[in-house]
């Protein structure tokens, strides 16, 4: 999707801001295919905790990752928003469940600051830096790192299913 009137210069990035818990995050708008509001989530039994469920999207079944679960925030009541993201070449599309989606924020690429070294492992694996904006610190998320299979590989997020399987 192109946004008319905004220069697509190398040095600025347009970020879609999103909210999870009460923290502000951003994802490069080029990487977002679609935002689904009020999407009905279907939980999958025995799935790892970070999988929020599956949703139907244009003839596909999308696996949706819950950002809240990843961040260790309490699960939200009611319906959230689902961002449809493209994975890298090998992985299919997936969804990211967030509380709500803000708007498009233009930030300068140069203004990005790296993750602080004091950040815990799990967060460091997910965040790819942050930008200072008028609304506060916007933490950049990288869709590639949020891919369900990637998260599974990292092993930092203990699958909940395991303990249940034993039953």
């Amino acid at each position: 999707m192109k946004i008319v009137g905004i220069s697509e210069a190398e040095d600025v990035v347009s970020m879609c801001s999103l909210i999870s818990g009460n923290r502000l995050f951003g994802i490069d708008t080029c990487m977002i295919r679609e935002v689904l509001g009020n999407a009905a989530m279907n939980r999958v039994p025995l799935a790892p905790a970070y999988i929020g469920g599956v949703i139907a999207y244009r003839g596909e079944v999308l696996t949706a990752v819950s950002l809240r679960a990843l961040l260790g925030q309490p699960t939200m009541d009611g319906k959230g928003c689902v961002l449809v993201l493209d994975g890298d070449a090998t992985e299919e599309r997936f969804g990211l469940i967030v509380d709500s989606v803000g708007g498009v924020v233009i930030v300068e690429r140069a203004a990005r600051s790296a993750n602080p070294i004091t950040l815990d492992d799990a967060s460091r694996a997910l965040f790819s830096g942050s930008f200072g904006t008028a609304d506060g610190l916007l933490v950049q998320l990288d869709p590639e790192r949020l891919q369900p299979s990637r998260i599974a590989e990292m092993g930092l997020f203990r699958p909940e299913g395991e303990s249940r399987c034993a039953l």
Binding site: N42, V44, P45, I55, V61, T63, P148, A152
Partner: protein, 719 residues
């Protein structure tokens, strides 16, 4: 596949296809050495490859193709005659070409390693060519100074899976593509109209209907485009059969029919391996050596037939040989030795049941066993592969006359029939194929029917203990579900020879579901094969019934039990004491005569809508699970029901006679007035002087046993 550009990719796909076709042409050529057209076709193919390679700059390939072309040229001009050695050499050439093509596909280059194999092959070509010219067209008798060409085929090369280029590309008729485009255009127009209309407008209904028809047409067209003729898979068999037969020292002729039968591309890929396996088995173990065949009064040349045809929404592929058949006695003997069945069980098994033993995993793993027993190399793998795509495998064999392996696969994988069940408040789909029966268990009956052994729950179903698996507990859904007041449902599933009952809260609708693949993370859970969108719009996971059984531990334990069950089922006819299904057959008549059927002969009791009963001539027929079932209505129940109009369904017993002989026993339906009960009883010795019918003492009362099943004989042919 980034290394290869579009042009090369196309060339590769085309050339490989050409080579596959040539394999067949060459084997044909061996049969009909004087067929000029065939020769011309082979020549053309090699020539095309040579021409294109020169153009694309593959020097190595060109040189090899050139050598082949020269040889084929001499052949075409009549300077050489066809013989086995020549064909062998040419087949080797094909393998050489194929190998280079594969190398190009992998690396993008034909490989600079100027290995001697090329030179060797080219030399062989020259040699064959020169040989022929020396002898002036006389058939070649003298072997070439190196090893005879036929000796050094590597079966590994011929049997290697088809190259990736063939699997990723698909040839589509331009007409089909045009039709698709038209339909998409239609779809866009319809959408425009819908967007411009209001829900309450009068045209909305019309538009919805139009959308429906466009979607249906589009679906059909796309499915059609995915259909590939079965001949694509058959095509590689003549070559394989030739090589195998040579290496086994047998002579085998292959016959095909129904090559044009269409099958979904993905399914075609899926059955390729099982089919290859079956063909290999047939030649290796089925067809006897020429001398033995001659001794048995058969034609020296063995016959292998591959047939494909469509039947009731599925595609049937048959592999039949006229070889020695499967010696059931030895199968049983080995099964007992392997501890798969006890000697007593083996004793009671019918021939058909014994044949099923070759599909047992334990049967194939022992190499020695398969060698002696004749068949069964990895037959469990064949069955597993076919069942994975929702198909079935049957085997029929007559000792001394041959074996028939029948694969039945659905037309498409994408859409399957499934039963939607609910458990723990969520919907799940169970593929219809695995479903054996449904049992409703009200709470008040649960204590008497459910038994415990240790922590395992068992359900007493017609005097057999069935392991129970609670779906909600396995999926960790317990507690989320609603408390059920009335009872629960037991879905009896039958997968890969083991049965278990899946406990679910409720049954919903049977639906035709569209299978959607899951992401790897969810596939790793291991219990779901996919997901689907239900008619209600919600998503439901499709359960992998085999995996559910396995995780619950049913599989290993159940194997012995199922074997035991099979054995006991077959016993009633032989043994005097057994269970009978008692029913009333006559519609009219004051004296309600009770009749009985051995329970083992009854597969199911169905309630059939009268409108589903069809007639051919005066004979009632029922379409039942993809089979045409003849209905027997001796009590004239159908007429009675139609006359009174009191009910619109009839009770039909789906029966299957215990078979003797190689053929699948025919199923049939028996229309009855009312099923009374199941009871134990004794079959009385028949005494034709008292009564021409077979009698049994059931519940201390004399009951007539239905004649077709009274003796161990085959069910008489109703149709």
């Amino acid at each position: 596949m980034g290394v290869v550009d579009e042009l090369t990719k196309e060339f590769l796909a085309e050339s490989l296809e050409g080579l596959d076709r040539m394999d067949q042409c060459l084997t044909d050529l061996e049969q009909r050495p004087n067929d000029k057209d065939l020769l011309a076709e082979i020549f053309r193919s090699v020539h095309t490859i040579k021409g294109t390679t020169g153009f694309l700059g593959f020097v190595r390939l060109e040189r090899l193709a050139h050598a082949g072309e020269t040889l084929l040229g001499s052949l075409r001009d009549g300077r050489l005659t066809v013989n086995a050695e020549l064909v062998g050499g040419l087949l080797k050439l094909m393998d050489g070409l194929r190998e280079i093509l594969r190398l190009i596909e992998l690396t993008g280059k034909e490989g600079t390693r100027a290995t001697d194999e090329d030179t060797e092959l080219i030399e062989l070509m020259h040699h064959l060519n020169a040989n022929g010219e020396l002898e002036g067209g006389e058939p070649l008798e003298r072997p070439v100074h190196r090893e005879p060409a036929r000796g050094d085929y590597k079966p590994a090369v011929t049997l290697a899976p088809a190259p990736a280029a063939n699997e990723k590309t698909l040839r589509i008729d331009v007409d089909v593509l045009n039709r698709m485009m038209n339909l998409v255009g239609e779809l866009v127009l319809t959408r425009n109209q819908i967007l411009q209309s209001h829900v309450d407008s009068t045209t909305f209904q019309l538009l919805a209907r139009r959308l429906n028809s466009v979607t249906t047409d589009l679906r059909e067209t796309v499915m059609q485009a995915r259909m590939q003729p079965v001949g694509h898979v058959f095509g590689k068999f003549p070559r394989m059969v030739r090589d195998l037969a040579l290496s086994c020292g047998k002579s085998v002729r292959v016959e095909f029919s129904g090559q044009e039968t269409g099958l979904d591309k993905s399914l075609l890929e899926a059955i390729k391996d099982p089919l290859t396996h079956a063909v290999r088995n047939a030649i290796d173990h089925g067809i006897e050596e020429p001398r033995k065949r001659a001794l048995n009064g058969k034609a020296v040349e063995g016959l292998l037939s591959l047939r494909a045809y469509q039947h009731n929404g599925s595609v049937v592929i048959e592999v039949e040989d006229d070889g020695g058949g499967i010696p059931t006695a030895r199968v049983l003997q080995k099964a007992v030795e392997r501890g798969l069945v006890t000697p007593e069980q083996a004793e009671a098994m019918t021939e058909r049941e014994a044949l099923q033993l070759i599909f047992q995993p334990g049967f194939s793993t022992a190499a020695k066993l398969t060698h002696i027993s004749g068949r069964g190399v990895g037959m469990d793998v064949v069955r597993a592969n076919v069942e994975k795509v929702g198909g079935t495998v049957e085997v029929e064999s007559k000792e001394g006359h041959g074996t028939l392996l029948r694969l039945r696969v659905p037309l498409t994988l994408a859409i399957v029939r499934a039963l939607v069940v609910s458990s723990g408040g969520q919907g799940f789909c169970l593929p219809q194929g695995a479903l054996a029966e449904l049992v409703y268990v009200p709470w008040r009956e649960a204590p008497t029917k459910v038994e415990w052994i240790g922590s395992a729950e068992l359900f007493r179903l017609r005097d057999q203990l069935l392991p129970m698996v609670r779906l909600s507990r396995m999926l960790g859904l317990e507690g989320e579900g609603i408390q059920l007041e009335h009872g629960f449902y037991l879905v009896v599933l039958d997968v890969e020879g083991c049965r278990y009952g899946l406990v679910v809260d409720d049954l919903m609708t049977p639906e035709e579901i569209v299978v959607k693949p899951l992401s790897p993370v969810l596939r790793d859970i291991g219990l779901f094969t996919g997901a689907t969108v239900l008619g209600s719009g919600s998503l439901a996971m499709i359960l992998d019934v085999a995996a559910v059984g396995e995780r619950a531990g049913v599989r290993a334990a159940a194997r012995e039990e199922t074997v035991a069950a099979v054995a006991s089922e077959s016993r009633p006819v032989a043994a005097a004491s057994s269970s009978f299904l008692i029913f009333e057959e006559q519609w009219s008549g004051e004296r309600r005569q009770l009749r009985a059927l051995p329970l083992s002969a009854v597969v199911r009791i169905e309630s059939v809508a009268l409108k589903d009963v069809e007639y051919a001539g005066n004979r009632p027929l029922l379409q039942y699970r993809g089979d045409l079932l003849p209905l027997e209505d001796r009590g004239e129940v159908l007429a009675g029901l139609a006359a009174t109009k009191s009910e619109d369904t009839a009770t039909v017993l789906i029966c299957q006679a215990p078979s003797v002989g190689g053929r699948t026993p025919r199923r049939m339906g028996m229309v009855v007035r009312r099923v009374v009960e199941v009871a134990g009883g004794d079959l009385l010795q028949s005494d034709t002087e008292i009564c021409s019918e077979r009698l049994a003492m059931v519940n201390e009362r004399l009951t007539v046993v239905h004649e077709a099943f009274a003796s161990g004989e085959r069910l008489r042919d109703v149709a």
